[in-house]
């Protein structure tokens, strides 16, 4: 008889549930019950969630504010696009090329993250915010000027999509992005629960105290920041094959702000909050396109209100509701026993 380890069993349960969800999602899109437009929004939301999670890792969990994740996204997007456009493989190997290109795009982005993290993360304070902000702008300007690779200001056209088959298009892009999103959620969740994760959270709480506990503060800041860049690069790579077109203006400061708003609104250091807010905000943005130009006004207002009234964000609100309900229930129980 095979005795299954309890942890292995829960792993299979969770994996099974996710697979089931994925299949149902695919089936709904394929059958047209979720129309193509909604499927696209869902897919885009998945990309936003991935990059917002990467920002949450460095800003929410490690406590180092970064303001240039659009820059990392751009590097991943252009690198992946370059690879899939210049490497030719037989039809049946195409998904392999896509997967590998996205990962390589992430690695290239991680390298850039290391290069700017190395001098900046030695300092205490908000230098990282300033440097990443400038870095994203530099990347954007570089993308405009490196016409040979990026197509310059006119943009990069003709990036192949996940599949040429128009009917299967929405299903395939959704699956690619959902799979990556799920893997990244697990990666970050497990990381935070592990020993390096504890070190990372300790750094957010108090750098000097973390130092006195024997945490190698610089190493773990670098680790977290590099991993964050890697994930953002993957998000960018997924984005380029989803749209099939890249333009440097897509990666301006407002794009970085989009991710920051998702993280802050969802709750700094909350994975579930980021995922939920990522989907809600992406959906809202599609419906409030009229207000697109007012985002510059609305977003800062949202951020200020959150900071003032609910710094823990959506995750904090849910936590409040949970304690409220459990209090109600226990109060009811006490009343009942009192009457009886």
């Amino acid at each position: 008889m095979i005795i299954m380890n309890k942890r292995v069993l829960t792993f299979f349960k969770i994996a099974g549930l996710i697979l089931l969800g994925l299949l149902i999602g695919d089936a709904l899109i394929y059958a047209g019950i979720i129309d193509e437009y909604t499927a696209q929004i869902l897919t885009l939301a998945g990309i936003n969630v991935i990059i917002a999670l990467s920002l949450n890792l460095i800003s929410g969990f490690t406590g180092q504010l970064a303001l240039g994740h659009a820059g990392f996204m751009a590097i991943g997007a252009y690198a992946t696009a370059y690879l899939v456009m210049h490497i030719h493989v037989p039809q049946h190997l195409w998904p392999v090329l896509v997967g590998i290109s996205i990962i390589i795009g992430g690695i290239i982005t991680a390298f850039f993250g290391m290069v700017i993290g190395f001098p900046t993360l030695r300092l205490k304070g908000d230098y990282l915010a300033i440097v990443t902000l400038a870095f994203a702008e530099i990347i954007r300007v570089l993308m405009i000027n490196m016409e040979g690779i990026t197509g310059g200001a006119a943009g990069l056209k003709g990036i192949p999509l996940y599949t040429e088959d128009i009917n299967l298009g929405p299903v395939v892009s959704f699956t690619w992005i959902a799979v990556f999103m799920i893997l990244i959620i697990f990666l970050i969740r497990n990381l935070i629960k592990s020993s390096p994760g504890r070190a990372i959270v300790a750094i957010r709480e108090d750098e000097i105290a973390a130092d006195s506990m024997g945490v190698n503060v610089f190493y773990y800041k670098m680790f977290s920041f590099t991993l964050s860049a890697f994930i953002a690069g993957i998000g960018g790579g997924l984005y380029s094959l989803f749209f099939g077109y890249l333009n440097p203006t897509m990666f301006n400061f407002m794009k970085s702000a989009d991710f920051l708003v998702i993280v802050v609104l969802g709750g700094m250091g909350s994975i579930a909050g980021t995922v939920a807010t990522g989907f809600i905000l992406t959906y809202l943005q599609e419906f409030l396109r009229v207000l697109q130009d007012y985002r510059l006004v609305i977003y800062p207002l949202i951020l200020i209100f959150i900071m003032l009234f609910k710094p823990t964000g959506l995750a904090g609100i849910l936590e409040d509701i949970k304690t409220f309900i459990s209090k109600k229930i226990s109060a009811k129980a006490i009343r009942k026993t009192g009457e009886g």
Partner: protein, 234 residues
Amino acid sequence: MLEVRSLNVFYGTIHALHDISFHVQEGEIVTLIGANGAGKTSTLHCISGLVSLKSGDIHFTGKTLKGVSPNRIVESGLAQVPEGRRIFANLTVMENLEMGAYIRKDRNMIKQDYEMVFSRFPRLKERIRQVAGTLSGGEQQMLAIGRTLMSRPKLMLMDEPSMGLAPLLVKEIFEIIKEINRSGTTILLVEQNAHMALSIANRAYVLETGRIVLEGAARELAQNEQVKKAYLGG
């Protein structure tokens, strides 16, 4: 056990520590006393690797600590209870203690040490799932000490454990420090509360504007006219 030889530290152009030399023997409580800005915390930070020294040398159990990174220093058995407690405010009491044992791998021993900390601080056990930021000042100081104990230090550096605490609590904390010392941990204590520090220490050094001006047995220094006038209020 700890040997500090002619330590010089600069903050920019400011010469903060001038030729500081002192030593701590195994099993002792040694205290550095002095007024604000005398260089007490700088000395501790220098030992624990948070501040780099310009010249001089620090030896701990025979090995130099010069140029060794703070996390390696903790691993070698020298841990600090930082000034102002610096507990992890958003983590629970238990998570704080877990962070204290961060460098250790011996799970069974760690479990025993949790019990050791809880028997020393029963109040922490009552609040084990509570978020540390909601503890009272005294409890936070106990947590900070308990957290440092979890790394099993041979030498514990304590930076102003009496800061911001009511007199009764200060007494309690100092009792605990004495007990920790009795159970085998050497202690280097930095204090502004010279009276309390001298009452539990074996030896003491008096710091003034970055220099050691007096040293000797704690009991003798407590009787010293100069010390009485400057630090003991008469």
